[in-house]
Amino acid sequence: MKNKHRLKNNLRKCRFEYNEISQQQLANEVGVTRLTIHSIEKGKFNPSVLLALKIASFFKKPVEEIFYLEDYGLKEKKK
């Protein structure tokens, strides 16, 4: 049996809790474009470890509090 994982995040919640900063403000802080933040929030783009750590450092939270793995199905391993 093999688990399939997907990277999920609480970025939107973190922004809301952090004085409701905009995607653009966060993008400026971590040195990426606004669309990259938007894509991460939507789960369409997985950030690098460096970017994930930068985001976590900005919010002063451990990285796993913002990014976490979610199982989304079990797949029978073919023999």
Binding site: Q24, N28, G31, T33, L35, S39, K44, F45, P47
Partner: protein, 302 residues
């Protein structure tokens, strides 16, 4: 910045209005000239009477185009949002500016060759006038729209800007399409001309490539001016790098298929000699179109 943009917006709008009036004047002159040539009237008299006003109108067109392109660049820098109309105007504005020089050569040719019959240069001249007119009208629409937006908007702080990146992809798509379409049309029409020399084909293809590529070259140059101060590793953010890598892979795979098709055509039909002259421009504009379209697709997709 906002004050400068406001000034250039107003100046360009003023010049744009004058240009539209000037286009009506020059087109009336070209129509009169065409009728005189067809009716074998006094062509020289008409040219003598109108040559200076038409030349002055063309100088006005030149100033309008330069002012419009400056305004577009400033808007690109100020609004920080991608706008298809703005990208299209940047593309067509550069082409229209280049065509102003072409018009001068065409009118010069017409004034010399009309004695041998109706010059075909008129058709190119009308096409060129249509491009100038389209640019002027669309520019006026954009200026009126952005004039209102400018009053209520403040400059946003964006450290990692993607507006030039997105606009470069739009312009790449337009350059690719226009290069492919114009080369195909020119190559298809070329054999229908009476006893056409090969140099005319080479010259025609070179001019088309130049006109279609210059807008893309200029936007890339503009982007490089900003990026040259940064390290190459900081030119894109990590999502842009990933999107560029994906579009490069698609482009690489498709380019092999495209070249294979060209090779099979050339291998199977030896009479298609024209292909040996145009295969590279076709390949180049196809790659430009595909790469820009794919990059934009992956970037917008998220």
């Amino acid at each position: 910045m906002k004050k400068l943009l406001n000034t250039t917006n107003k100046t360009t709008l003023f010049l744009c209005s004058l240009s539209i009036a000037g286009l009506i004047f020059t087109n009336t002159f070209f129509l009169m000239l065409k009728n005189r040539i067809i009716n074998m009237g006094n062509v020289e008299g008409l040219i003598d009477r109108f040559s200076i006003p038409v030349a002055l109108t063309y100088i006005l067109f030149g100033f309008f185009h330069l002012s419009a392109i400056l305004t577009l660049v400033l808007q690109l820098n100020f609004f920080k949002r991608d706008n298809v109309l703005r990208a299209f105007l940047f593309f067509i504005g550069i082409i229209s500016l280049l065509m102003l020089f072409g018009d001068t050569a065409l009118v010069n040719d017409i004034s010399k060759e009309y004695v041998f019959g109706f010059p075909n240069e008129f058709y190119i001249l009308y096409f060129s006038q249509a491009v100038h007119f389209l640019f002027s009208v669309l520019m006026m629409i954009l200026l009126i729209g952005t004039g209102k937006a400018l009053k209520r908007s403040e400059k946003k702080v964006i450290l990692k800007d993607d507006s030039v990146f997105i606009n470069a992809q739009y312009i790449g798509i337009l350059s690719g399409i226009s290069g492919l379409v114009l080369i195909t049309i020119f190559s298809a029409l070329y054999p229908t001309f009476y006893n056409p020399p090969v140099w005319a084909l080479k010259a025609g293809i070179s001019v088309i490539c130049f006109i279609a590529f210059v807008p893309y070259f200029l936007i890339i140059l503009y982007w490089l001016v900003f990026k040259i101060r940064e390290k190459p590793s900081e030119w894109y953010d990590e999502k842009q790098f990933k999107d560029l890598a994906k579009s490069s892979l698609v482009t690489l795979g498709t380019s092999v298929v495209f070249l294979l098709i060209l090779f099979v055509i050339q291998f199977s039909y030896k009479s298609v000699l024209i292909l040996s002259l145009i295969w590279f421009p076709l390949y180049f504009f196809f790659i430009l179109l595909l790469f820009s379209a794919m990059t934009l697709f992956f970037y917008k997709q998220g």
